[in-house]
């Protein structure tokens, strides 16, 4: 082990760490702007229009500059260490999970054999940091938000894992690169790409369940219970301001992208081009992969500005009474399909 660590080139480590970080940071700036534009367009408004010229594209940069300059306020009665640590831990959790995402046919941070397992395990730390932030703030709204997030974790994690399991039943691998490579080619009905969503009708059901549970996992409307503005001020973020709050925001958007990319990898062929060999180099594969992920992110935004928020008990009911039985039945059906065909 020590021998292995000594052999690692530090520059290579830096490059491998910097690539997903750059992607996350650029994406977060674009996505926050895009979210506001989507909200504006859906409500027949225009959204930010003034900063930077064309359609206010520099709005998030201006916001970021403002947040950096703000005073770092820590409540007097808070638990100082946990309060300061929670946002960074939250970002670290979602950032660490990007290591196993195959961004392109020639780039993956860490090509390990337990990719999906690692990803799901690391993202649950996110909830831990939310509880940490909620508890450390010493504020009733924050605590309620943290508690809700814990209740949410036990609800959505089971259907998520069950649906990921259905994919693993089909692919027989936990490595996300292998899963993606298995989906290349256009063989279904002669022209459709070999994506898992087209391979098996039960995987479509699995995708729907998976999408609902990743909405809950990334704390998006209609499952944004930990930070529901209308009831809990801002939930676990209530006492945070300035750069620490920006870290929460960044982590939230990074999580959204992470889970969308996971969905794209598991069900939509990852970096595979929809046209077979056409447009399929390392760069194009990155393009297709991000396009698929960002489309799912857009659907998440679209849902956010369409649906109202569920109550905590309704979320529990949906996850425990409907999604969990459905996903387990689905798992059995997918396994049967694999055995028969």
């Amino acid at each position: 082990m020590t021998q292995y660590l000594l052999n690692i080139n530090p520059i290579a480590i830096l490059v491998h760490a910097a690539i997903p970080l750059t992607i996350i940071l650029v994406y977060a700036l674009v996505a926050i702007w895009a979210e506001r534009k989507v909200a504006g367009f859906i409500q027949d408004r225009l959204g930010p229009m003034r900063v930077g010229g064309w359609h206010g594209w520099a709005q998030s940069i201006a916001d970021l500059l403002k947040l950096i300059q703000k005073e770092d306020i820590i409540p007097a009665d808070s638990s100082r260490f946990l309060f300061k640590f929670a946002p960074f831990m939250m970002f670290a959790a979602s950032y660490a999970a990007f290591a196993v995402i195959p961004f392109s046919s020639s780039y993956i941070g860490s090509n390990i054999n337990i990719g999906v397992f690692y990803l799901l395990a690391v993202t649950s730390v996110l909830t831990l940091s939310i509880i940490m932030a909620g508890w450390a703030s010493n504020n009733k709204w924050s605590l309620l938000g943290g508690m809700r997030s814990a209740a949410q974790l036990v609800s959505y994690e089971v259907p998520t894992i069950a649906t990921v399991l259905t994919v693993i039943v089909v692919t027989g691998s936990l490595n996300l690169m292998t899963i993606t490579e298995m989906q290349s080619g256009n063989d279904i009905l002669g022209f459709l790409p070999n994506w898992l969503i087209f391979q098996n009708p039960f995987l479509l059901v699995a995708f729907v369940i998976f999408f609902i549970s990743i909405l809950a996992e990334s704390h998006r409307v209609p499952f944004d219970l930990p930070e529901s503005e209308s009831e809990l001020v801002a939930g676990y973020q209530t006492e945070y301001s300035g750069m620490r709050w920006a870290m929460f925001m960044l982590a939230e958007y990074a999580d959204m992208l992470l889970l969308s990319l996971l969905g794209a990898t598991l069900f939509f062929g990852g970096w595979n081009s929809p046209f077979g060999e056409f447009m399929s180099g390392p760069f194009w594969s990155f393009f297709w992969f991000m396009l698929k992920g960002l489309l799912l992110v857009f659907v998440m935004m679209w849902i956010r500005w369409t649906l109202p928020r569920y109550r905590v008990d309704q979320l529990m009911y949906i996850c425990w009474s409907i999604l969990i039985p459905l996903s387990f039945i689905n798992l059995v059906l997918v396994a049967l399909w694999e055995v028969i065909f």
Partner: protein, 211 residues
């Protein structure tokens, strides 16, 4: 179980209906007017600010009386006989100097009630709406175009004329009173003269009355 599936199906269907509506709005036209760059086209009768065409004002005070919040302040001085203030564009003769015609737009409630009583249509609403101020006193609009010196002069002249008129009237009164007195005296004199002529008959009457 069946009920749960039914409910799930209804939920699913309504989610897609809702998302269909939002995507229609997503691609639809926005209603936002980017204010400083674009401005709304206001109708002709928009009530945004009061304006007074002071050349047509005859100082009749009807608008100030109609105002429900008393935001119109009018002071008038009657014109002296040596100047002719002319006529308004509607043909009404002007008989007053308007030493003060102030409208406090901070108080105004845009009810339009002052506009209709005006006999010469000189007070009306205009559609200019960008007149916010940092100091509230700047919202008091002064429409009178008389210079302070002119106001003083006009006031003095009017006061002089009024005093002169008063004096004339008093003179006339005095004259009249004098005339009346003279008449009385004359009448008395005449009566006395008559009495002198008829002195003989009078005491006999008295005697008659006593008996």
């Amino acid at each position: 179980m069946v009920e749960a599936f039914k409910n799930s199906w209804i939920t699913f269907k309504s989610i897609f209906i809702g998302m269909g509506i939002t995507i229609r709005h997503f691609f639809g036209k926005s209603v936002t007017l980017q204010y400083p760059d674009e401005r709304p086209v206001l109708p002709n009768n928009a009530r945004a600010k009061l304006y007074v065409n002071i050349d047509d004002c005859i100082g009749c005070n009807l608008c100030a009386r109609a105002c429900p919040v008393n935001c119109i302040y009018i002071d008038t001085v009657p014109s002296t006989s040596d100047v002719d203030l002319g006529k308004t564009s509607t043909g009404n003769p002007k008989r007053f100097w308007l030493t003060r015609f102030d409208i406090d737009m901070a108080k105004c409630m845009y009810c339009d009630l002052c506009v209709h009583p005006c006999p010469t249509n000189c007070i009306y609403m205009v559609s200019e709406y960008e007149y916010s101020e940092f100091n509230r006193t700047n919202l008091i609009y002064h429409f009178s175009n008389l210079e302070p010196a002119m106001v003083a002069e006009v006031k003095e002249k009017a006061a002089n004329e009024a005093a002169e008129k008063q004096r004339q009237r008093e003179e006339m009164m005095r004259k009249k009173a004098e005339e009346a007195k003279m008449k009385q005296i004359e009448a008395k004199k005449q009566a006395e003269e008559k009495n002198d002529g008829e002195k003989g008959s009078e005491p006999s009457k008295k005697e008659n009355g006593d008996s």
